[in-house]
Every structure is written in C-alpha cells, then in structure tokens.
Point group: C2
Chain length 198, copies 2
C-alpha cells in the first residue's frame, strides 16, 4: 500500500509534512507513505531543500496520491513534461489535493462537475478553471477529495486513513498528533469535517 504525496519545487511545508506526519501514524508493515517529487531534490517556499522519497513516475502505481500545494503550482499546471506524467486514475486510486493542488486536479479533468476546496489565494484560479469553490475545509466525492487552508491537511490525511483502514484508525492517528489537553475535542472537530464524506 503506497501513498504518494506529490511535492514540487516551491512546495508549502505545512501541506506535505502534515500529511506525511499524520499518515505515518498508521503502523502497518505494508503501509508506505512517501514524499514524491519530479526531481531528486526540491526546495520549499521557505527555502528548505529536501530529498525525494519516491519519484513522480511512481504515482501511476500508487494506491493513493495526495497532491501537495506550493507557490509554483501554476507553473506546474503549465508544464506538460510534469502534467503528462501525472497518470492518476480515480477508478482504482484514492486521490486528494491540498490547497493549490486542487488546481492540478482541475487541469487533469478529475474534478469535472464536482465542487472543490482550495485555499483563498488559489480560489480564483480554480474558479477560472470552471469549478465551484466551497467555503469549507474539506469535500470528497467518491475517490477524489480536496481540502483548503493549511490546517485542513489533517482532515485530508484522516480521510485517506479512514478510507483505507477505517474510521477508528483515522481517529487514532489524529488523537496522537492533537494538542495535549484538547485531544478529544480536536478529534471530534476534525472527524466531523470528514465523516460526511465516508
């Protein structure tokens, strides 16, 4: 079971790493989560260079793909050499997008006729691509989910876990990372955003 977190140059650290941290709370031998990049290294929007854990061609065989966000997503959307390698298939994969990642799913035609979530900066570009943008942090239909605002990243991660390992596994993952002294209410709020779409 491979979950690939697509992470491009100029990426938003919160979006890729909150997903990575929450998804890795699942402790199963066949559970693999990777930061997946088009190049061997990428540098974040705040200048942190990281090494890829998998490469972009592996998205085709991944069981789940989470499209991260960043300040160069519009460049990625116009880069045929990258877009042509994003061979996503919601009939056999779970697919999610965080913030500006939603723009890439829109350009790939994976959100036709479905409203979507994204961040406030990306919102006009997603609308320009013909989509209805929701004023809420999370939405999913079938095997495709979108989330908006960095701290909706745990909701998107919880959705992946709930779909692949059940509701309780998602709750447990969020409970671990929730603030001390506020864990129960954090988990309730978070799962309240996700459970409508399971």
């Amino acid at each position: 079971m491979h979950l690939a977190i697509l992470t491009f140059d100029g990426f938003n650290e919160l979006d890729s790493f909150v997903a990575l941290g929450v998804l890795n709370r699942v402790k199963k031998p066949d559970w693999r989560v990777s930061i997946c990049c088009p190049t061997e290294t990428v540098t974040s929007m705040n200048g942190v260079t990281i090494s890829a854990q998998s490469r972009i061609d592996s998205v085709e065989t991944a069981d789940a793909v989470l499209v991260g966000s960043g300040i160069k997503t519009r460049d990625v959307a116009n880069d045929a050499s990258i877009m042509s390698r994003l061979k996503l298939d919601p009939s056999r994969q779970l697919i999610g997008a965080q913030c500006s990642g939603t723009l890439l799913l829109a350009k790939l035609g994976l959100l036709s006729g479905v409203p979507a979530c994204t961040d406030l900066t990306t919102k006009p570009w997603v609308q320009e691509a013909g989509l209805e943008v929701l004023n809420q942090p999370f939405f999913a239909k079938g095997n495709v989910a979108t989330a908006g605002g960095c701290f909706s990243a745990p909701y998107l991660a919880a959705w992946f876990i709930a779909r692949l390992h059940g509701f309780e596994a998602a709750r447990d993952a969020l409970h671990y990372v929730a603030p001390v002294g506020d864990k129960e209410s954090y988990v309730e709020r978070a799962m309240g955003n996700v459970e409508l779409y399971l």
Copy 2:
C-alpha cells in the same frame, strides 16, 4: 531578527515544519527563520532528508530559538558534543520547546521551578528530570515557553510572533494557515491558549 528552529536527526516533521510555516507568515525584511541543525543534513523520523538552513552554533546569536521534537531526543540529551553547543540565554533570547524538545530545555536547566508542556510519550522523561508536566497544550513564563502535542505547534509559533511583533501579527499568521470556512474560530481557539501568557 533570526529565529532558529533546532532540528535533529530523527526529527518530527510536524513540529519543525509547522513552526517554520507559521513563523514565515511574518513578511518583514529583517525576519529570518531557519531550520537549524547540528549537521549539514538531518533525516526525519519518517525518513525525509533535509538540508540545514543554519548550523547549531548560530543559536548563541539567534534572537529566538525553538527546540523541535523527535524520536532521538533522549540521545541528544546525552550527547555532550551537542548539548555543550546549545548556548541559550533566556535573559536575551526567546526560547521555546515543542514536545520532546522540552526534555532538552529541562536538561539545560532552563525550566527550573517552572511547570512545562510536552507530549504524552515524553512526559515520563520530563517528570523524571524533576519537572511538573501540565495537561494543557501551551505554557510560558517570561521568555521561555513549552508546548505539547504536535498540533500545539501553531500556538508556540504564535507566541513567538506575538512577543516579537504583537498580538495582531500572530492572529494574522494563524488566520492565513487556518482551515477555510473555520478561520475565525480556529484563530480564537489558538490565541486563547496563548494570550494568557503574553
């Protein structure tokens, strides 16, 4: 103004990168936030290798130091070659610790007589070091703050911003990263944990 986020091998991505992302919402020419490491590269608890943006010797001259968390913090606490280089001075620096980072501040004697926050895994080690551990996500006294549970990281970052640039700047930073459709209530909850200590 340099804020160093101490990040060691085996680090928790959520703790270092949530701090980095939130702190970098402050857009001022003299505001510099760096991932600060003992070595040129470090590898996270989930296997992501990153390059340092500053090196550990720069903590002595940093204006603010945030001690990140990780799965090897007890090894760091017993490594004199690292601990001797952590020249922190709360009389002239803001100092914060996230989760297991609290253990390092305890070992450095910076939490004497002060209760502290940490994560549930680190709690017994911090208690063993003689500290009272609070069942709450955030606490600060004077120039030293501690936070417990990964998603208390935004509270710690907000405290640094509020202390250095004021309450409204902290609110603005959190508002940007908060989930879409829930931004006001997220910011209220988060700042509610911080404002008692400003």
